[in-house]
Subunit: 218 residues, 2 copies
């Protein structure tokens, strides 16, 4: 752009104050790290590659995140937050069809919008959760126990079949996250093309249909 600069006092590009710049850089790095960790795994990812994707010198990454482990930990923690918030769809639902249906919708949407995050999470758990074991043992366990109580309440109220609530949760996690974690396989079997909007709707509909009918909630 060779046009003259506007007469406003701000330089046309960036305000570059400290706190904004810091937040912006951290976000850029975390986003790049999520992608690289998802594609290569923790061991296969390199700080140099993350730096390249982020468009920053490698040494700059170490200014914001002291070690590779620290950066990885932050990525996993951020994903876990999103994961937990999906529970909001579950609560205050009057019946299983509403609550579980909304939960499936939300988790499918997460698989669609945050496939990299889901992969990093899956990889972390698959490798024995070396950095978030405490989350599993505390936060996730409490969360799970709470949801089991909700489901058991629905069963006791005769609103759904007496299935095992814990294993139902596993099924919900497995079926929804499959579309993120195994997205490459799904895409390959879809003729090598990403799922279309209609495909996603069909997947979502199908999962809800089978599970809700499977627990006699409809």
């Amino acid at each position: 752009m060779t046009s003259q600069a506007p007469p406003t006092k701000r330089p046309q590009k960036r305000p570059h104050n400290r706190i904004e710049s810091r937040r912006e850089n951290e976000r850029t790095i975390l986003s790049a790290a999520e992608k690289v960790f998802a594609e290569a795994g923790f061991g296969g990812a390199t700080m140099q590659l993350i730096a390249d994707v982020a468009g920053l010198p490698k040494a700059n990454l170490h200014y914001y995140f002291a070690t590779k482990e620290e950066l990885y930990r932050r990525v996993v923690q951020d994903i876990f937050e999103i994961w937990l918030h999906a529970a909001d769809s579950f609560d205050n639902a009057p019946d299983p069809a509403t609550g579980i249906g909304a939960y499936i919708d939300t988790k499918m949407e997460i698989s669609r919008r945050h496939p990299n995050g889901s992969k990093v999470w899956a990889s972390e758990v698959m490798h024995g959760a070396p950095v978030i074991q405490d989350y599993l043992e505390n936060t996730l366990r409490d969360w799970t126990d709470g949801r089991i109580r909700v489901i058991q309440g629905w069963i006791d109220a005769g609103k759904m079949a007496p299935i095992n609530p814990r294993h139902l949760l596993y099924m919900l996690w497995a079926t929804t996250q499959h579309y993120a974690d195994f997205g490459h396989q799904v895409e390959t079997l879809n003729g090598g093309k990403p799922l279309s909007e209609a495909d996603w709707q069909a997947a979502k509909h199908n999962v809800k249909q089978i599970i809700l009918r499977g627990i006699s909630a409809v």
Copy 2:
């Protein structure tokens, strides 16, 4: 053992002929590699660690498998074979309850007996299937198309609800493999103890119950 050797001509330890020794070593290495790849991922695994687990010098690994990639490829291929053979439960079944029920049983058993293999497979696919993309595009696609035809046949014959066969297959894969790939999470939520025989039966029963009822096959 200070007792005298038995009078039979064979030395009490090993026959050490060439072909047996080779097969034995290959099996030891592949088993160790499967474990290490499952726990650390391809990038995180080291030939030295695999050698230590196998109880062999690292240089010996390279005698049987030229490169890390070649060893990894063999591990993944072996798993894929097991995976495909699970389809036998599917074929020649008169109705969906029998066929899909048996398939779930078989795949749950694979998750139980070969959790490491399942993890390596999951990891490979999650990272974009860099070494087995051709399997996905040919063998797996054909397999999938065949099973879809079987399911569609059942639907057309009015033996089950008109769900989307492709997405049903994804559900079957996701729910059964979850117990292997996310076994650590399941174990943690199970109080840190491995699933008991009863737990496995409950899991299997629950998956079959929900899915078979979900597709109106019972």
